[in-house]
């Protein structure tokens, strides 16, 4: 088997093993209801994590997504409260703003030659600040269209529901996989992550790709904000704090190298599901405290980093012998 697939295989194996442990202890966790909820509850995180996967594949990082999600939520809530605009138009407007915001960060990173870490950190302050300026209160969304959207679901056998937002996450993942592996842009992202200088020599348009990557991340963070707004039916400027960390953790657990150039969008989905599973298990157990989630995710991160290190070590040795 190709060594490239090993981290992904390990992630899937750990997810299945963890799920088996959960099911042995609580047989109810096998129900489609739990699976449906797993998708719904992690939809906003998953959509944002797809954008993060592209950014990390290119060797960058985007710290602004949590703030952009909060901004989008507040933006939608304020817009729907103050005007008669249809939610769909508001969604389009929000996506436009966040995509432009991402593109701007990409442009600064490329043209001013600044580290993505610092640029997106400033972006995080800016987006969170814009959310504060719009409103410091939690604003409820009472538009009937929201209720309609929330009422849409596909009923699974066994009573589980794939809600609109849960389904949307799966669609976004499918689209992400297609973009990463079947388009020129996807190939450019991988090339950029392998090394900017080599990529440039191969004819990859560095500037355009960098701007497009961060614009995509901004777009998906905006979409994630819309999903979060549907999920909570409110906009609050202090919401979604630290989502960028969860997304980064999911990407790493999903087997993507943080140095860029190697990894899979599909792995991120499994990474999200593993995090969701830990949370579900803690809810089922009832006696475990919520902070165990953080400790377990930290531990998983550590295991996966070790695994990747070992893997790189083995492949390099094999290459040396060959």
């Amino acid at each position: 088997m190709n060594a490239r697939y090993l981290p992904l295989t390990a992630t899937v194996a750990i997810f299945l093993a963890a799920y088996l442990v959960c099911v042995l202890q609580y047989p109810n966790m096998l129900s489609t209801r739990v699976i449906g909820n797993l998708l719904t509850d992690n939809a906003f995180l998953g959509i944002a994590a797809v954008g993060m996967t592209f950014v990390i594949l290119s060797g960058g990082i985007d710290l602004s997504i949590g703030a952009v999600i909060a901004f989008t939520g507040v933006f939608l809530a304020v817009l729907l409260q103050a005007t008669d605009i249809h939610p769909l138009a508001a969604f389009a407007l929000a996506l436009l703003v966040t995509t432009a915001f991402g593109a701007l960060m990409g442009a600064i990173i490329h043209h001013l030659d600044m580290p993505p870490f610092i640029v997106t950190l400033a972006g995080m302050f800016l987006a969170r600040g814009m959310a504060f300026v719009l409103s410091i209160d939690s604003i409820p969304v009472r538009h009937p269209f929201y209720a309609t959207l929330k009422g849409l679901y596909y009923k699974l056998p066994g009573g589980g529901r794939i809600t609109l937002i849960g389904g949307l996450m799966l669609v976004v993942f499918a689209a992400g996989i297609l973009i990463a592996h079947r388009t020129r842009f996807g190939a450019n992202v991988y090339a950029l992550g392998g090394g900017a200088a080599t990529a440039e020599l191969m004819g990859v348009p560095i500037g355009r790709t960098t701007v497009a990557i961060y614009a995509l991340s901004g777009f998906l963070a905006g979409l994630s904000g819309i999903v979060f707004s549907l999920y909570t039916s409110a906009g609050y400027s202090l919401a979604a704090v630290g989502v960028e960390l969860d997304a980064i953790a999911a990407v790493v657990i999903g087997g993507t190298l943080l140095t860029g150039g190697s990894g899979f969008v599909a792995g991120t989905l499994v990474g999200i599901l593993i995090q969701g599973l830990i949370q579900t298990y803690i809810t089922f157990d009832g006696s475990l405290s919520s902070w165990w989630t953080k400790i377990l995710i930290g531990l998983l991160l550590f295991i996966f980093i070790l695994l990747q290190k070992g893997l790189i070590h083995v492949t390099e040795r094999r290459r040396r012998h060959a």
Binding site: H111, L112, D113, M124, A249, W291, F302
Partner: protein, 342 residues
């Protein structure tokens, strides 16, 4: 000696100038800004307040500067602050003396640093991920120590560290000034600083020329852990309790920002602890200034982001080279003059 002093002044000039401009702008909006007064043998005033409130970030920035100089980054300092605050509160409430509490807490911080250092130096993991592990898990560990509650304490010795005063200055200010000076002296009066810079510029080359890079790397992260522990004690002593959820939250970002504003490159190499400390003061001056000048607090983050972007754009390599380009005619004239002289 005067040449090194001149070089020092040139290095620190942009940061000092930025700080002065910000302080002047605040004093325009808030006239009583520079006023200092002594009450009960202690200095009071907005300037002292900036020094005092900036203590945690300043302390973190000291360790962060050394770590960034080795081409690393330490994302875990905020979480380590939470852990150490929790440990300090747990120790003092369960009856340990002040000295034992401080020793255990500082030891915990150093241990956290050792963990990060081992991951980076021995397992050769990228610093940003290696420290991400502790950043994610750290708050959980801190909550494990406090058992999910906010542990409060009323030991006068521990509280003194957060709100006491020494020679008229608040205790946190004294601590970060003394600690910053001590680290700067140790690093600059020995070869240590140069070795760290060598390691940051090219680890392999440094190793080949006989620098024990592994030990240095681990020491850098341990120093960062120690700084986080002191900052954690100050933060906990200040509110007389350990809040595992909020102590040091996002301070790692402020600390990194302080280092970057201080002009130390994230790519490792040359560093200046003094410049990072001024960077920390710049950030705190912005925070305090926005509050004092009566802007609605909602605008805080936007103004902060705008100022930071401005400072970074001025420092960015592209802007620097544009600067050189604009002053080119003079440079070429000088070059011609040099050639003619030959």
């Amino acid at each position: 000696m005067s040449a090194t002093l001149k070089a020092y002044a040139r290095r620190l000039f942009p940061q000092v100038a930025a700080l002065a401009v910000i302080l002047l702008m605040v004093s325009l909006a808030f006239p009583g800004f520079f006023k200092l007064e002594i009450q009960n043998g202690r200095l009071y005033g907005s300037l002292i307040d900036i020094l005092n409130r900036g203590a945690p970030v300043a302390l973190l920035a000291i360790g962060m500067t050394v770590v960034i100089a080795t081409k690393g980054i330490d994302l875990s300092v905020g979480a380590v602050m939470a852990i150490c605050g929790a440990v300090a509160a747990a120790c003092i409430t369960s009856g340990y003396g002040l000295a034992a509490t401080l020793a255990i807490t500082l030891g915990t911080g150093v241990l956290c640093g050792l963990w990060n250092g081992l991951l980076v130096a021995v397992l050769d993991i990228q610093p940003i991920i290696a420290t991400l592990v502790l950043m994610v898990a750290g708050r959980g560990i801190a909550q494990l120590v406090t058992e999910g509650a906010i542990l409060t304490f009323n030991d006068p010795g521990l509280i003194f560290i957060g709100s006491g005063s020494f020679l008229g200055l608040p205790m946190p200010v004294v601590i970060w000034l003394v600690f910053g000076l001590a680290v700067a002296l140790v690093v600059r009066r020995t070869a240590l600083g140069m070795l760290i810079e060598a390691l940051g510029v090219n680890r392999r080359a440094a190793m080949l020329s006989g620098v024990s890079t592994g030990v240095l790397l681990i020491a850098a992260y341990m120093l960062s852990g120690l700084c986080a522990a002191i900052a954690g004690i100050i933060a906990a002593a200040d509110i007389r309790g350990a809040d595992a959820n909020n102590a040091g939250l996002w301070l790692e970002l402020d600390a990194i920002l302080a280092v970057v504003v201080g002009g130390t490159s994230l790519l490792g190499g040359r560093f200046s602890i003094a410049a990072s400390l001024i960077g920390a003061l710049i950030i705190q001056a912005i925070n305090t200034g926005i509050l004092l000048s009566g802007f609605p607090p909602e605008f805080n983050l936007i103004i902060k982001a705008a100022i930071i972007v401005l400072i970074l754009v001025i420092q960015s390599p592209r802007a620097q080279s544009a600067f050189v380009w604009f002053s080119r005619p003079r440079a070429t004239a000088a070059g011609k003059a040099g050639e003619e002289a030959k």
